[in-house]
Amino acid sequence: MSYSELMDWQSVFEDVNCVRALLYLAKYNPNTQTMDLQKTLSLNSNELDVVLNKLINAKLVFFKDDSLTLKDSALIALDNFVNLTGLTKKAVLA
């Protein structure tokens, strides 16, 4: 992975809306409509654009006909994120 790719990934995993989007896509993949994502996460158009740009730049998703599918690399990265932060456990306990 090149340095710029690493930076693209970092900008995704350091952005709360991107992480929420990844969680949603992991739950409802493949071919998740961007409109469903926007509605469920209550994102405005600008926020959605930022999320989509970051995910696409980091090559974590396939984007076709207004729908998103997570790549395998994104699933692995998200799994690492969840394991490292215990995010899903906190959500259950809270």
Binding site: L23, T40, D79, L87
Partner: protein
């Protein structure tokens, strides 16, 4: 992969997407940011990779080594050549001795990436490295594929402890040097993090 997908689908509850859960996601992101900062700080203490080899080849010259070094530094991987040590010593106005420069580089480096060449000093230099176990152990040697089966005049290569790494051309060599450097850095980082735990 389907196992990871199933696991995540089971773990991620629908309520995690609600606005009320944003603080939980935000806290997780903050943890990642902290972890990243810690790793970047740790990387600053990496002893570095010594890029060693003949500089007099038409393609594999000092410019080539400097270009690989820059790419590694851009990837937060400290790297240096003997020329850097020479420059540093010049600055401190200490007497400059080629043997001392090489010794300092070999002692200080976490690993040494040695590109085999055909220069006059190659045999003497590699013999010196092979004779010292501590240097030999941390040396990865890159040899041109055209030198495969080069015969007796390359017999010194047999004395290295790690398996030789063969490259096709200068582009292949660059990729291999970067990959092996980053792999070594990652191993070092894991070791340091585990040691800190």
């Amino acid at each position: 992969m389907s196992n990871i997908k199933k696991k995540l689908q089971a773990e991620i509850s629908d309520d995690l997407f609600s606005e009320m859960r944003i603080p939980a996601v935000s806290a997780a992101v903050d943890l990642i940011k902290k972890d990243h900062k810690r790793k970047i700080n740790l990387l600053k203490s990496y002893p570095g990779i010594l890029l060693l080899g003949d500089w007099y080849d038409q393609e594999i010259n000092l410019d080539f080594f400097n270009s690989v070094k820059q790419k590694l530094i851009q990837n937060n991987c400290n790297a240096f050549t003997l020329d850097d040590i020479r420059t540093e010593l010049k600055r401190t106005k200490k007497p400059i001795d080629a043997i001392e420069i090489r010794k300092r580089g070999l002692d200080n480096a976490a690993i040494v990436l040695l590109v085999d060449g055909n220069g006059r000093g190659t045999v003497a230099e590699t013999t010196e490295i092979c004779n010292k176990q501590q240097w030999n152990n941390k040396c990865l040697v890159f040899v041109a594929e055209k030198d495969l089966g080069a015969g007796e005049h390359k017999s010194y290569l047999k004395r290295f402890k790690t398996p030789l790494i063969y490259y096709r051309d200068v582009n292949d060599l660059e990729k291999l040097l970067i990959r092996h450097s980053l792999d070594a850095l990652e191993r070092w980082l894991v070791q340091v993090i585990n040691h800190d735990k």
